[in-house]
């Protein structure tokens, strides 16, 4: 098995440098508006600053995966004497809170690193963060090439074909992938 190169887009969040201005939220919502930049609404943003000014808590968080269920149990973190909820760092669009959901439809939002054609030098939130609380970096990482020997999935599919026939499995997969 060989190694392959993969580009990783990374944002380093230095929460200590955040001045709490929420420009990142503002410009994210503007970039993702249609037409581009035609409206502003931080509630649509894929980055949110979790702010509790009197407790000096400022955590920029990016929207990650949607999750259908909230966590069982909650943890608290104490860092430098400040108490954080685990949700303060969580990227999920989750039923426990209204973060990272389209305010109109409730559909989940996810950060796409401002993919654009031609590509931007950096995501808009980073560009607008003059205090460098958000710093963008691209780097290459070597990862294992995907394993081509029959894995669990292939073995499973084979047994399904044996049982139901190829056509029925194909139809089912086609239907599922449209859902």
């Amino acid at each position: 098995m060989g190694k392959v190169k993969k580009t990783v887009k990374a944002i380093t969040i230095n929460a200590d440098l955040c001045n709490g201005c929420r420009s990142c939220e503002m410009v994210c919502s503007s970039f993702h508006a249609a037409p581009r930049y035609s409206s502003n609404n931080p509630a649509r943003s894929r980055i949110r600053v979790v702010r509790e000014p009197l407790k000096d808590i400022y955590i920029p968080v990016y929207a990650g995966e949607y999750t259908a269920a909230e966590c069982t149990g909650r943890e608290k973190y104490i860092l430098d004497g400040k108490e954080y909820e685990e949700c303060d760092f969580c990227r999920a669009s989750c039923p426990s809170r209204d973060l990272f959901k389209e305010p109109d439809s409730g559909l989940p939002l996810k950060c796409d690193m401002c993919e654009d054609e031609p590509p931007l030098a950096k995501p808009k939130c980073v560009e607008w963060c003059l205090n460098e609380a958000l710093v963008y970096q691209e780097y290459e990482e070597e990862v294992e090439e995907a394993d081509v020997s029959p894995g669990d999935v292939e073995i499973g599919v084979e047994s399904l074909i044996d049982k139901y026939g190829l056509q029925q499995v194909l139809d089912t997969i086609a239907r599922r992938s449209k859902a």
């Binding site: 201005c21 420009s23 508006a33 930049y37 609404n41 509630a43 407790k55 003059l130």
Partner: protein, 655 residues
């Protein structure tokens, strides 16, 4: 569809308990832009000239600026307008922070409040859902404390809350409206809010604010951001540190207070301490500031860090900005450590950090002079810091002497009598001023102090250097990239301006030049106050990112209303003239346009008279400071001319 504007106002009548969402006339935006301009128009139209501040008929208007909620950096100001209990004139104070953009996202440009609630209430605006809610449990609570309570009970940590403290509830004439790190403090608007029985307005919005020509608008915003970065890296040489950069004066960041502490007056604007700033003081103040300052913070969508979170051991955390760290410190002849401590209590009570310390220093001076006796001040501690806390506690409760002092220096002096009037030496139009007493009359500042309707010099000055540069080289260097000037002649004024000799104050800048400089400075503030742009990125600092040449494009691309420099200048002139007319209708005249008598040691009555004459002419006002019929008609303010004519304030034979 409306752009930049939401196109809707909220009309709240607290006497009737009614809430209406009202669509607004887009023509108002074209004529008055928004913010202060539209507020002034509403106050002119709907509040009769005889209405007192504490009347159900007085309106209290919270307006977002036209560009608030768009991508324009630093456009986040809430413009609060009403009539002042202290001056009797139109009060307008602004606050940064996060409130105005949130209001726009909730779908409103402004909230107009009339009437008076029989019980203490607060307003909860959540998009289309607007409620008047009971606030009896918040009675007496601090402004910051109130905001926290409301966010908790609404279970909405993202709600933005503007609230009054005890001072507002008790109608202290210099009560403020506090909003996290910001406050609208001047003119006693917090007292009007208290009179209306309104403890707070909480707002949360999740709707869109649209702009008309997105790509063009965003390119302008990107440019402003780039310029802010550039200016951060390139401070202006040859000026004091707080004037070298952008933003509000960076009081939270900078330690060097030589300029303020040795040039501004201590106590009741009385004593200059030229030798105050020593190495030991600097070291000790540095330690104090760094030990209590947790983080430098900003307002919505602004890369600056003009505010700070302040945590003094043993007292609750609060947020501070700008000069308030020194106002209490210097009024009490005390130390920075005291300044940070008392500012926490003052912020919770909700008082103006310019007026409150002045009033207390005035009271202590009266005590020293024997005009106020120990009987008037029963139980007052013996140390000055203790006395300030003691007075503050009484003022916000209107207890004993506190009730008198709660009306501010001007009214308190007249109620106390016995010669107390002579100690009222630092008010303009009954309003306390920054403690400055200087030597030689400065013609530019003379005009600004005399005629500035905002009555707060930091919100009138800006753009033009406060002092001449010493050498020709420095001046030439300064004007090289001075793109913000509306006209090349301003460069010439600066090039010729000398610290000494013929071309120095009070004779230079000349009367004409001074008028032009003041007109430009003031216009830029009026534009900011309509658009919601922070003065710290626009009208206040030297060489700001926003200026008369890029504002028209900002407005046009945001709103879709075509605007060029001439029409923007015209709109700013219209707003300024309307404000003047509002106050003229309430009795203000030339006789009121004057700085404190002892503001300068060397006064020049001839020059001063000439300055006012020429300035009025430039403004289109008659010799008594009343806008002329012709100028009003030229500004589409014919309805104002008619009203003033009916009242006999202007006539065909106007001088």
């Amino acid at each position: 569809m409306r752009y930049a504007d939401t196109g809707f106002d909220l009309e709240i009548d607290l006497s009737r308990g009614s809430i209406d969402r009202v669509e607004t006339d887009p023509r108002l935006t074209q004529l008055y832009l928004g913010g202060l301009g539209v507020n002034a128009k509403i106050l002119w139209d709907r509040v009769p000239a005889e209405t007192e501040a504490f009347s159900e008929d007085n309106l209290l208007i919270f307006s977002g600026g036209l560009l608030c909620g768009t991508s324009a950096p630093g456009c986040n100001r809430t413009i609060v307008s009403t009539f002042s209990p202290q001056t009797g004139l139109m009060a307008y104070s602004m606050m940064g922070g996060f409130w105005a953009p949130e209001l726009k996202y909730a779908g409103y440009d402004r909230v107009i409040i009339r009437g008076r609630s029989p019980d203490l209430v607060y307003l909860w605006i959540h998009n289309d859902k607007v409620e008047i809610r009971d606030a009896s449990h918040l009675h007496g609570k601090g402004a910051i404390e109130t905001a926290e309570c409301i966010r908790k009970e609404l279970k909405d940590p993202n709600a933005q809350v503007a609230a009054i403290g005890l001072a507002g509830e008790n109608r202290v004439f210099y009560a403020s409206i506090e909003q996290g790190r910001s406050s609208a403090s001047r003119g006693g608007i917090g007292a009007v809010m208290g009179d209306k029985g309104l403890k707070a307005i909480a707002v949360r919005g999740t709707k869109d604010v649209n702009v008309a020509r997105p790509a063009e608008f965003m390119a302008l915003c990107d440019e402003v951001l780039k310029y802010i970065k550039f200016r951060g890296e390139k401070p202006i040489p040859g000026v004091i540190p707080i004037l070298a950069g952008l933003g509000s004066p960076q009081e939270m960041k900078l330690i060097d207070e030589k300029w303020h502490t040795t040039n501004f007056m201590w106590g009741n604007s009385r004593t200059r301490r030229k030798d105050f700033w020593t190495e030991e003081v600097e070291q000790s103040w540095k330690e104090t500031q760094e030990s209590v300052r947790t983080r430098l913070i900003s307002c919505y969508n602004c890369p600056m860090k003009c505010g700070a979170t302040i945590t003094v051991p043993g007292i609750p955390t609060y947020m501070m900005k700008c000069y308030s760290k020194l106002t209490y410190t210097m009024a009490a002849f005390s130390d920075l450590d005291f300044g940070f401590k008392i500012a926490q209590r003052a912020t919770e009570y909700g008082v103006d950090a310019f007026s409150a310390p002045q009033v207390m220093a005035f009271a202590l001076e009266l005590h020293e002079a024997g005009i106020l006796t120990d009987e008037d001040l029963p139980g007052m501690p013996s140390d000055v810091e203790g006395r300030f806390f003691w007075l503050l506690d009484r003022i916000v409760r209107r207890e004993g002497i506190g009730d008198v002092l709660a009306d501010g220096v001007y009214w308190a002096a007249r109620r106390i009598g016995k010669g107390a009037e002579a100690f009222d030496h630092n008010t303009i139009k009954k309003h306390e001023q920054l403690p400055l007493k200087l030597g030689m009359l400065n013609p530019i500042y003379y005009l600004m102090y005399s005629t500035g309707e905002k009555m707060n010099i930091t919100q009138i000055e800006g753009q033009f250097p406060q002092e001449p540069f010493r050498t020709r080289e420095e001046r030439e260097d300064f004007v090289k990239d001075w793109i913000q000037v509306p006209d090349e002649k301003f460069k010439q004024y600066l090039l010729e301006w000398e610290p000494r000799g013929e071309k120095s104050i009070p004779h230079f800048p000349t009367v004409e030049a001074s008028c032009n400089i003041v007109d430009w400075q003031e216009k830029m503030h009026y534009i900011d106050d309509a658009l919601g742009t922070c003065a710290g990125l626009s009208s206040f600092p030297l060489k700001p990112p926003y200026h008369i040449h890029n504002f028209p494009a900002f407005i046009s691309s945001a709103t879709g209303i075509d605007m060029d420099e001439a029409s923007l200048w015209q709109a700013a002139t219209r707003n300024r003239t309307l404000l003047r007319a509002i106050n003229v209708r309430r009795g203000m005249r030339r006789a009121d346009d004057k700085p404190p008598e002892d503001h300068w040691k060397k006064r020049f009555p001839d020059i001063e008279a000439k300055l006012l004459d020429e300035y009025y002419k430039l403004k289109g006002w008659d010799n008594n400071g009343i806008p002329t019929k012709a100028s009003l008609h030229g500004l589409d303010l014919g309805y104002v001319a008619e009203d003033l004519e009916q009242r006999g304030i202007i006539s065909d034979g106007q001088s």
